[in-house]
Amino acid sequence: MKTESRLIRGARLLDPCTGLDAVTDLAIDRGRILAVGELPAGFTPTEVIDGQGCCLCPGFIETSFQGHTPGSGRDGSLASELRAAAAGGFTSVLLRPDTSPVADTPGVIREQQAEAAAAGLIRVLPCGALTPGLRGRELSEMAALLEAGAVAFGQAQRSIEDTQLLRLALSYAADFDRTVLLHPEDARLAADGVMDEGPLSLRLGLGGRPRLAEDIGLYRDLQVARLAGARVHFPTLSSAAAAEQIDAAQAAGQAVTAGVSIHHLLLTSQDIGTFNTHVKILPPLRDARQQEALRQARARGTLSVLSAQHEPWGPDHRGSTMTAAPFGIAAIEYLLPLALNLVRAGLLSMLQLVQRLTTGPAAALGLPLPSLAPGSVADLCLFDPEQPWEASANGWSVGDNHPYRHWELRGAVRLTLRDGRIVHRREP
């Protein structure tokens, strides 16, 4: 088999690991980055790609990805959803453990890896359930899950109500030096609310989920994690007070990271309008004041991860009422143009945006930091930051549950490479 080698000419290289931000050439050979700038004599690529006007950076890493594998198939599976992620410029995704059945046994972890290998697209990083069934009543067999290939432990969108069990789970997990992903929420206070508690939930007669549930849950989780000596990550926070707590914990030297979803930065609870189920998400969208605080925390770097929080739901869920509709938005393939809005709004530099999508999540998960330096794995994303387009009625994801259908999108992923191999290509 002929070895693939590629030369990407004239793109703006963005390497958050080294701080490189310059227009130059990049050569790829045998799945790794061969050279940046000056090419070795005698290098004859099998393909030359014109990168003028485009940005080239490490492939994006997602920390909250519902792949529905194992699952019923009605809402997509790794085959469809990894394709959507590749189209979004992602080269690695951490799989949420709230699959059906839950990822609490080695068999499920192996199934996820086998499905991903069969899809042959991007990398999957399985995340084992911290507690069996995510019920928060016992400890999972963490060593067995790691042996099977899990890279982290998590609770998806379920908090552990029993604080003693949380303490024990975090202590036990700390032995393995892996990140534990938690959903900070006081479950009883959150009750069965379907949106932010506030004037709009009152008007619509919908159950509210108070912001306070997140603030209290986060306080408890942070304190318990510190006591247990566990490294924790909160994938998607939604409130100003939560971001402040992360600020303070980091300043005190605690091993904690946190992220925010693009949805919480671009939308507010007002977008629910008259029962728009496409913006039903957990944690719920908050008001404009919370959104502004999150944007600032994102800019400061407190929230070091930007997440697509990908949760696809298939056509069988269409036509549900707000109460019956599942939580989640599926928009990973539109993440880049949506996120570029933050750059255009002056909240982030282009390099900072790339950082929150690459080295930020890698550091949070304890993975090697991706880079464009020669020798690095050629997991790359080439994107045109200006190309206008519109989300089509049929994207790659099986889920059409997103509110961005009529948005004007600016910026498109041209190429996604994994190990130097093209897994997504979009013609200009």
Binding site: H317, R318, M322, A324
Partner: protein, 327 residues
């Protein structure tokens, strides 16, 4: 099924700005609200005649689609449709089979295949009527007969109709609504209707667990003591207190609720002389309201029911009279 469109303004109105569906009082133009009330006045007279039918909706078929129990609302809608000469199909779907929105739209699609002209829908989940209206668009009319804790527009219409008729102009009333506001679609709808018609003072009364301070965002005064809320009120509206509220720990007991807030003759005496007493029914005698008040001279609870029929006739005739439903 085509994709549902969200965020397209107010789904009650069509592109020409005509009222197509009645989903909630919120977002209703004052002129439309007044037109319904004025039309209801004319229908009130018909009920007094020996022959109570008009041919307005002859040849039309309306479906009473009730996913929740109802006596008053369902029967007055049925009678309203029949007096307008429409054919009426009554469907009482069990609540248990209706927890999924899909089954709602599937039910409706099946009925649409039978060429019906409109739906009067009651559903335990907020937004169900909006969902139906978005799904049907111009194909059939939708009247919301109560969706979860969200809205109950015809109840509010009959309430303001009653106030206007028996107490006088809404602009001159001080209205006190007491009881479980939090879970009440009736209260939400009434507050919006009173606001649109220029009611200068709307007070809400109940314990904080059932009347949270956030109600102030609807432009009402929030009270937790009848001695503050009742003086000067020209209309006192008692809401039905549901027994489920005890299980969710929002109240220690029904007796305690009655002790603090129940509308007794003594409490009613705090309100303006001759203040009207309204209640949407069904009544819990001895809980939110005492029998002496229910059966007393200030109570207009049965007039509300009579007015409900006229108001529902007005709503159906106006909505069905909009083009597009015509043929």
């Amino acid at each position: 099924m085509t994709g549902l469109r969200f965020g397209d303004g107010n789904p009650q109105y069509d592109r020409q700005g005509r009222l197509r569906h009645l989903l909630s009082i919120e977002g209703l133009r004052e002129i439309d609200l007044l037109q319904i009330l004025d039309t209801a006045e004319s229908f009130l007279g018909i009920a007094q005649r020996a022959i109570k039918k008009t041919p307005t909706l002859r040849g039309r078929t309306l479906v009473n689609l009730f996913f929740e129990n109802s006596t008053r609302t369902r029967s007055t809608f049925e009678l309203a449709a029949k007096r307008l000469s429409a054919d009426v199909l009554n469907i009482a779907a069990s609540q248990s089979s209706a927890t999924k929105g899909e089954s709602l739209l599937d039910t409706v699609d099946n009925l649409m295949a039978m060429q019906v002209d409109g739906f009067i829908v009651r559903h335990p989940e907020a937004g169900a009527a909006h969902l139906l209206a978005r799904h049907l668009g111009d194909r059939a009319l939708v009247v919301n007969a109560g969706d979860g804790q969200h809205a109950h527009p015809t109840q509010a219409l009959l309430d303001v109709f009653t106030i206007r008729r028996l107490a006088g102009p809404v602009e001159q009333q001080v209205v006190c609504i007491l009881g479980d506001l939090l879970h009440s679609r009736v209260a939400r709808a009434l507050i919006h209707a009173l606001s649109i018609l220029g009611c200068p003072e709307i007070r809400v009364l109940g314990p904080r667990t059932l009347v949270p301070p956030e109600f102030a965002s609807l432009g009402v005064q929030v009270h937790h003591d009848p001695r503050d809320a009742l003086p000067g009120a020209s209309v006192v509206y008692a809401l039905r207190l549901q027994r489920e509220r005890m299980e969710s720990h929002r109240l220690p007991s029904l007796d305690e609720f009655h002790r603090r807030f129940g509308l007794t003759p003594e409490r009613l005496a705090l309100a303006a002389p001759g203040a009207l007493v309204l209640h949407p029914g069904p009544i819990n005698r001895g809980v939110e309201i005492g029998s002496a008040v229910v059966d007393g001279p200030q109570s207009v609870i049965l007039a509300q029911v009579e007015h409900g029929l006229a108001v529902r006739m007005a709503v159906l005739s106006l909505l069905a009279g909009v083009g597009g439903h015509e043929d």
